[in-house]
Amino acid sequence: MKRLLVADDSETVLLMLQRRLEMAGYDVTTATDGQEVLEMLAHGDLQPDLILLDAMMPRKSGVDALQELRAAGLGVPVLMISAHLDAQEPERMIALGADGCVPKPFDWDELIAQIERHI
């Protein structure tokens, strides 16, 4: 079973994502900000197959977390979740080291397709 780490600052969104991704057959771990994501990865006891990162979160944003984990040499696939999706956003995220970018609100089929493509 593939393991996903999902981070979003809204607990309801997080719960929804967790339940639906579990239904889709993934093992899901959740975090509520970028700091938590980095801590989980630092201890080495979590080795996800893909990380879903909300770009905007308090404490440490998804964008910052993405840059730090890439700087630490982690090559795990990362999909950014962005609510401010203008046309240039995916390119910008990929330039920062992400593997892709999904819009929020979610188009579920597209989300699953992107996860499958990058795992």
Partner: protein
Amino acid sequence: MILFALLLAVSLLGVGRLFQIRVDFEDETTRYFQLELEGERMRSGFVLEQAAVRSPAPSAQPNPAELRRAAASFATAADRASELTGGDTELRATLERLVASETAWREAVAGPTLRGRSPSLRVRTRLSNRVTRSNEALGADTAAARDAVRQAARDDTRETTILVVAGLAGALIAALVLFSGLINSMRAPLARLVDAARRLAGGELESRVEVGGPVEIAELGRAFNEMATALERDARERDRIERMKDDFVLTVSHELRTPVTVVKGFAEMLTAQKRGLNSRQYEAAEVIADSAEQLQKMINDLLDLARSDAGKLRIDPKPTAVRGLAQKAGRHMRPHFEERDQRLTVSVEKELPEVRADADRVGQVLANLLTNANKYSPEGAKVRLTAQRNGSQVEFAVSDDGPGLGEEELDHVFERFWRAQSGETQEVGGTGLGLAIAKSLVELHQGEITADSVPGKGTTFRFTLPVADGRRRRRTRARKPAKAT
């Protein structure tokens, strides 16, 4: 100003002087006429004196009483004449000579004749001739004096008239100079006012005018500045409220997104696990999912419009194949048309150039237009999506054979929240924002969107996109390495 007043005063004085000259002239000539008259009286007095001395008939005796009366008449006339000579010494001298000659005649001729000793004819003739000549001299001198007065009055009048005319002309020139000076002093501040008003009208709200010029113009300038300040204040306030509204819509839409995302996600999850629900629960989950979907679309539309208003809606145009755009839109919408037994045909002209387009956004425009055609056309209708070259642009058209729109409805079709009144058909869902967004997006692409319709026959929406300029792109690409080195 002072010069003007001075010149005007001079000419007014001149006019006064003209009147005075006229009055003086009248007085003088009257005096000389009177003097002449007195001269004539003296002449007739002397004639009577001579007649009294030289009796008409040889039998008759000289008449002393007659002589006295005539001499008195002469003397009275001489006295009056003496008064009338005034300061004129020459005239007075002539008059005195006349009086003296008459006195001499009376003493040498009249007196002796009355006493019966008439002097010789030669003496008589000489003395009486002297009186007559003196009398004529007085008449001539008076006439000459009168002529001199007339001449002097004429000269005086001419000079004064010249003075008056010159004064008036000078005053006129001074007035003109004064007037043009006034006009000139108004010209620059007025030009500044005109300029400032134009700039204000052109949207430069900080446009103010430098106050100056004549009092009234300066006052006008101040009033203009007050007006401009009031306008600027109002405009800034309006901008502030507009920005607040934009921010508000952006924030609210954004905040709404999270809960709607969750509702929609869970509803979809429920409908996906059909087996665990009974039919009513499944129906409820489906309705929740559909409503959430609709809500989400509306929020997306509102966000797009709010961003567009705030100038934050951006597109990423790239050279894009027209056929791909049209076919993708057709493919996405086909299920909706099939649902209503409608037929959608997509036809794209052959060998169309690429257009400069943000594929997702143009897809959104096409989807909005096709959704409208789908919703507003009756079941079984035909809808056409076409694309063809039109000059340096490509024109897309979506036509339906639905009920069509009236002229007045066409005017409102791109307004927000405006919905066509479809009397006979059931209520049509939607936000009423689709066409407003389509218009914003097409305009962001430097294109143009129009609607035309024949009631009862159908409606056609057309929009244009610019053809991608291949040459320019090559040039910018060619230049980049040159810059890097």
